[in-house]
Subunit: 239 residues, 2 copies
DNA sequence: CGCAAGAAAAATTTATATATTTTTTGTAAT
DNA sequence: ATTACAAAAAATATATAAATTTTTCTTGCG
């Protein structure tokens, strides 16, 4: 297994935060596989650090919903399931629909300009680094995140935005875990543009419908990915 | 200051969980005052424990929004403000309105029975232990929590329920912090009954309106409590 | 002879104690 | 009065120890 290499200098203040960032990246990318046990000794060697910063990082990640802790039995990478994917998606659709409506109700010229900019920048970066096969483009992911965050950023509630961020992270892991990334069948660029248009035209119902469809379609593709979920046969055979 | 005494036997498995429970109670009750610094030495002596379980507990409480952590500067009790109270209340109204509608849309006879039971039990316990002055009744608080949780419990999203629980905790602290607890001016029992009636009659709009009004009124009372928020004069004099 | 139950051993998580940085505070000098 | 330096206080990290869980091995019974 290839995990993040121990980079030498850019220590973000505390070791705990540094380990948190690296662990988070390894969890989201799938390098640390779902339901895998996170043994202290292994983590200490891999990330070259002590257990105090490690526990700190693992506890934060537990709060983020990426790690699971069982009392006196250690930490585990949060498992994935079709049921959880469906529930997370459903919740995200509900909550972001709410946040988007509130954002639009509190719209300002500045916010609309931010949205136009975010959409434009996203449209100028390729989804994949390779034209023939899918190769994750970190720059696109970053701009994609900013775009969706901007969409709901005017809602006026920090706690709601933080919750949306958590849901986004958890669902992002499903996307990275899934091999068939709906590439290049979908035109996600067009979808982002259409949502923006609806927002700018003031049509909240349309904007919400487009946004939720956007999320639902992504989930539907991943739900059909046999590679990330145990096939039904095997589950039946086990029981 | 009188904090929770070190009770001898009921240790919930790990020391960290035990400290978490006691710290949480002291934070919610206000025994640990807002913006107070949580020094390790003080906490270790007060709760008679080491720093590993303490850090664990403080990190969990940070995720709950009751504690704030500043890099290399330690932990602090989350500060309170009128702005945050207003925002938390607004968010809770939005999100619980959503959860209540979804609960009603997914209603079952079992759930309705649970709700009837929860409301009945709550109505049978006095709000205050004393008839003349306000004396917090833990049993009422417990049943109150269960009632509100039941109301939205059928929504079908664990993560949404967890988020609602967090908001409830944070707002509960404001209530405990406030001296004028709207007692006995309001008839919260009637409000709880009215919400249940609306739910049972299937009138979602009415139920949501009653619920959000319920939360908003509580917040309005606390917002006028000069004792918990720094008076405007003092803020102006400082700057 | 195979299987289940119990006890000892190993592995691992959790907690304490010690050491190292970092931040803050107090003092002196410009 | 302000800045620089030094001492202290406190947070963070490492290393060591204790307690718990899991595994393995042995013993007894069918």
């Amino acid at each position: 297994m290839e995990l993040t290499a121990a980079s030498p200098l850019p220590a973000p203040s505390t070791q705990a935060s540094h380990v948190y960032d690296r662990l988070r990246e390894d969890l989201l990318s799938g390098r640390l596989a779902p339901s895998r046990k996170l043994q202290m000794r292994f983590l200490m060697e891999t990330y070259q650090t002590g257990q105090t910063p490690l526990r700190e990082a693992l506890n934060r990640l537990t709060a983020d919903g990426l790690v699971e802790v069982r009392e006196q039995r250690g930490f585990y990478v949060k498992d994935v399931s079709r049921a959880e994917l469906a529930e997370l998606t459903k919740t995200r659709c509900w909550v972001e629909a709410l946040a988007l409506r509130e954002s639009m109700a509190a719209s300002t010229p500045e916010w609309e300009e931010q949205l136009v900019l975010a959409q434009h920048r996203l449209s100028r970066v390729p989804r994949s680094l390779s034209a023939t096969e899918f190769a994750d483009n970190p720059e696109w992911e970053k701009l994609h995140r900013i775009y969706h965050r901007t969409l709901i950023g005017q809602c006026g509630s920090q706690s709601l935005l933080a919750f949306c961020g958590q849901l986004a992270d958890q669902l992002y892991r499903y996307r990275r875990l899934s091999i068939s990334k709906a590439f290049p069948s979908r035109h996600v660029g067009d979808e982002h543009a259409a949502i923006m248009e609806a927002v700018l035209s003031g049509d909240a119902d349309l904007a919400v419908n487009l946004l939720t469809a956007h999320y639902q379609q992504t989930a539907d593709v991943i739900l059909q990915d046999e590679a990330i979920f145990p096939e039904l046969r095997r589950v039946a055979a086990r029981g």
